[in-house]
């Protein structure tokens, strides 16, 4: 039998009930309601009366595509999550809408993810995954130009970033709820999903390559509903920055990790890195530690973004000269 379980390999991303505090669950519902409300309105404008059948069947596609798995190693297997693929092929609003219904049916029908925390799960896997994924995709295409390989490179980067961003959001929510100290949850979730994201990226690239060969018109369809690519790239960056801003605040027991570190003797053993731009991730000259961590995070994000823009711009100039 091909399927021994009712659902593909569970990824540690669907938060069950009981793991988030009520306040965090409610914030999740508010963010989800705003995101999904906008998505309903904008996709209605773009699709008109085709909205319901198109979105419904393609949401079922995402669900079914999550069953397509491949062996990785040692009995584990990887499969698609689909947020970035949906956003690229259908556009960000339609992507959010399809992913939202997928998350809702997974929770209602298969208890994969809780009901009270469904808002948080929609926020992570639909709103954040699609916005970050689409932002990265448009950013890459903007910087590299509309070539075939930029579709694939953009698809890979978008898929990876969407998975990691959703996982980071999940860790931040767990941190705010006091369920898992952020210092443990964030590196663990981001680390695992940095690996899962590679698989996601490869599957997304495979799917985009096939669709762009067979129906090139459909790959361009995702762009029809949106205005400027630049605005989307900025939106993606803004969501990533918001996550960075929230992470240092997400610790109701700030002493928790330090206690573990002290127990483990990490604090004494912590060695100075041979060179560091921002020592201890804390910006010098700022007394408030949380504020300093936020500033450090923002500066780090902007530096990484700047490097990416610079490399891409250099590359584009060289291609232009050669051409």
């Amino acid at each position: 039998m091909l399927f021994s379980t009712t659902h593909p390999t569970p990824t540690p991303m669907h938060i069950p009930d009981g793991f988030l505090s009520l306040a965090v669950a409610l914030v999740g519902w508010v963010v989800a309601a705003v995101g999904v409300g906008l998505a309903l309105w904008r996709s209605r404008e773009a699709l008109g009366e085709r909205q319901v059948p198109l979105m419904g069947v393609l949401a079922a596609f995402i669900f079914a595509a999550q069953m397509l798995n491949f062996t990785v190693a040692g009995g584990t297997s990887g499969h698609l999550l689909g947020g970035a693929l949906a956003a690229i092929l259908l556009g960000p609003w339609a992507g959010i809408l399809t992913m939202t219904t997928v998350v809702a049916v997974q929770a209602l029908l298969f208890q994969d993810g809780g009901l009270l925390v469904m808002g948080a799960n929609i926020t992570n896997m639909a709103v954040i995954a699609c916005l970050v994924g689409y932002g990265v995709y448009r950013g890459v295409r903007l910087l590299v130009g509309e070539r075939r390989w930029s579709l694939l490179a953009g698809g890979f980067a978008a898929a990876w970033a969407s998975v990691v961003a959703a996982a980071a959001a999940c860790a931040i929510e767990l941190g705010f709820s006091g369920t898992s100290p952020i210092g443990v949850a964030l590196p663990a979730m981001a680390g695992i999903h940095a690996l899962i994201g590679i698989g996601e990226g490869l599957i997304t690239v495979g799917a985009l390559a096939l669709v762009s060969r067979a129906r090139p018109d459909l790959v361009e369809m995702g762009r029809a509903g949106s205005v400027g690519g630049f605005r989307w790239a900025l939106t993606g960056l803004a969501v990533a920055l918001a996550l960075t801003l929230l992470s240092p605040l997400a610790s109701p027991h700030p002493d928790g990790l330090e206690r573990v570190a002290e127990d483990l003797g990490f604090i004494e053993a912590a060695q100075e890195a041979p060179f560091e731009v921002i020592p201890d991730y804390v910006f010098p000259g700022l007394s408030n530690e949380a504020l300093a961590t936020i500033v450090a995070g923002v500066v780090g994000t902007i530096i990484v973004f700047g490097i990416a823009v610079g490399v891409a711009a250099l590359y584009r100039r060289r291609v232009a000269v050669e051409a």
Binding site: E49, V52, G56, A59, L264
Partner: protein
């Protein structure tokens, strides 16, 4: 095997099955909300909630064992909460018996972890019970009654309608891949990256088939007079029994919370 076998609904005629879906949806939500509001370490309240859910499972004739087995879906996440047992300050209960790694479990940390696990377990049982005793189309009009936007409910309805069709399609594709490829003792051929890309091509093919199917469906709907609004029959009004059960259980949950906070 048809993918329909995956549907978690268990047909039946028990009193729980016959309860109005709107009442079931609201009560399940209230139950999970109550579990979330009960403070840590209130074992009496957790026990009372578990008794309530067990009683309902017995009444529904879905099968205790079946529900407990499915409850395991939330298990991987318990691992994520395990860290609080180590990181919360308190009296040291147990020291990890590894030389050089002084990780300790504290009493406060352990109780916090157990409280999270209890809440999660209670909630997942309630959610399983809801799905097992309510056909999904009934849940959809329950959602509609809760003022979830009509378009969103309609899309979810389409997702449910075509989920099994497309899942069957995916299953056939996987079967075809198995049939074509030799897989020496459980390992796939080729590199992991190559296998992932093949899977990607399958996802792309599935997307195209789904997209073209959605176009055919839309044409068929147009031919039958679809004008952009999805019309459904209005659900029957609530029976007296539904009102009584809804109010009673709702009051029970409220009383439980009041008692817990009073104590």
């Amino acid at each position: 095997m048809h993918i329909h076998a995956l549907d978690t609904y268990c047909p039946g005629t028990s009193p729980i099955h016959r309860l109005d879906p709107r009442v079931k949806l609201v009560l399940t939500g209230l139950f999970i909300l109550t579990a979330a509001l009960v403070p840590d370490r209130e074992w009496g309240a957790f026990g009372a909630l578990e008794a309530l859910v067990l009683l309902t499972i017995l009444l529904s004739s879905v099968g205790l064992v079946r529900v407990q087995r499915r409850s395991a879906v939330a298990m991987p996440f318990v691992l994520a909460a395990l860290t609080v047992a180590f990181s919360t300050p308190g009296r040291v209960l147990w020291r990890l018996p590894l030389p050089g790694i002084p990780l300790t479990v504290t009493d406060a940390g352990l109780l916090r972890f157990l409280s999270i696990a209890a809440r999660s377990y209670l909630s997942v049982q309630a959610a399983i019970l809801l799905a097992a005793t309510t056909p999904f189309p009934d849940l959809l009009w329950g959602m509609r009654a809760l003022r979830i936007p009509r378009t969103l409910v309609a899309i979810t309805g389409f997702l449910y309608r075509y989920l099994f069709v497309l899942a069957d399609e995916a299953r056939r594709m996987l079967q075809a891949r198995e049939a074509r490829s030799g897989a020496p003792d459980g390992r796939g051929g080729g590199s992991v990256a190559w296998r992932a890309q093949v899977t990607g091509s399958m996802a792309g093919t599935l997307f195209l088939r789904s997209y073209e199917r959605s176009e055919r469906i839309y044409m068929a709907m147009l031919a039958r007079g679809y004008d952009g609004t999805v019309r459904t029959l209005s659900p029957p009004s609530l029976r007296l029994v539904d009102w009584i059960v809804g109010l009673l259980v709702g009051m029970l949950l409220a009383a439980l919370l009041l008692l817990t906070f009073d104590a």
